[in-house]
């Protein structure tokens, strides 16, 4: 697949997962059989979820490192510093939990796509400078956190089997939502029109 299509592929993978989970009625709200196409969507094990959590956190740490290396904008740098710290904290907690639970993270299409998407975007943003970089970074943070928040709500929390893993995902959600809110404010200031 051409690199330029990877972000779309990631969004589709996550959308498929979230759609599958809601169609499977994991909340217990629906007993309607899922359509055949959705039934083929991959189910997430706790080991898969662990790999996705680490990959998702590492992706935003990658973006934050790039922003801290390239941007001179105080707001962008402040946001990057915050997200990097938070994602590091979540990764530390996630790794400690799966180690204690003796769960070995198992890579899957979503975790692969997250890593590849992050690398693709890093390469694109690496070539941008000044306001163009800040604008692209902020917009990407909105997209990233929107996608991750959707995945947490519709796929990861409903799929988690272990109660402690589910609790960890629930406790992560407010921070991701806060990042999204902050990113939206940042992106509004960093759009070309708003300049």
């Amino acid at each position: 697949m051409p690199r330029v299509l990877r972000p779309v592929a990631l969004a589709l993978t996550l959308t498929t997962l979230t759609g599958a989970c809601s169609l499977f009625g994991r909340s217990g709200a629906s007993t309607t059989p899922a359509p055949a196409a959705s039934a083929a969507a991959p189910a997430l094990s706790d080991a898969n979820i662990a790999a996705i959590v680490v990959a998702a956190n590492n992706a935003d740490i990658l973006y934050a490192d790039l922003a801290l290396a390239k941007s001179q904008d105080a707001e962008v740098r402040g946001f990057a510093t915050m997200t990097k710290k938070d994602h590091q904290s979540v990764n530390e907690a996630a790794v400690a939990l799966v180690t204690r639970l003796k769960v070995t993270p198992v890579d899957n299409q979503v975790s692969f796509d997250l890593r590849e998407d992050a690398e693709t975007k890093r390469l694109v943003m690496r070539d941008l400078e000044g306001f163009a970089f800040d604008s692209a970074y902020a917009a990407n943070e909105v997209t990233y956190h929107t996608t991750v928040l959707g995945a947490i709500d519709a796929a990861l929390i409903p799929s988690a089997q272990n109660a402690e893993l589910k609790a960890l995902l629930v406790s992560v959600r407010p921070a991701v939502a806060a990042h999204l809110e902050h990113a939206q404010g940042l992106a509004a200031k960093k759009t070309v029109r708003g300049r």
């Binding site: 979540v90 406790s171 809110e181």
Partner: protein, 112 residues
Amino acid sequence: MTRARALLLVAVLGVSLVAARAAVPSAGPRRHEVRMRSVSFSPAELRVAPGDTVVWRNTDIVRHDAVRPGLFDTGELQSGDSARWVAADTGTFTYRCTIHARMRGRLVVARE
């Protein structure tokens, strides 16, 4: 005992109890806890007396601090960590987490 005398006795006892209660000194400095959770301070506003101790405890998954420049700075608290501060001067003090701009709290230090 007549009904009037009984009522008078009850009234006198009641006044004595109220007076005695007022004369008892307060229980002394108290300890209050503010939890950092879901990227917010809980409670967001706290009323304390001079001499009381405020403890910030991070029960969130991410790091936080609580800072009022010139008054207190908990430093970064990891999940499970806590920091304390003893209130002295009266006043209303807003504070914030320097990592998360949306996290704001308010302390009201006032004599009871």
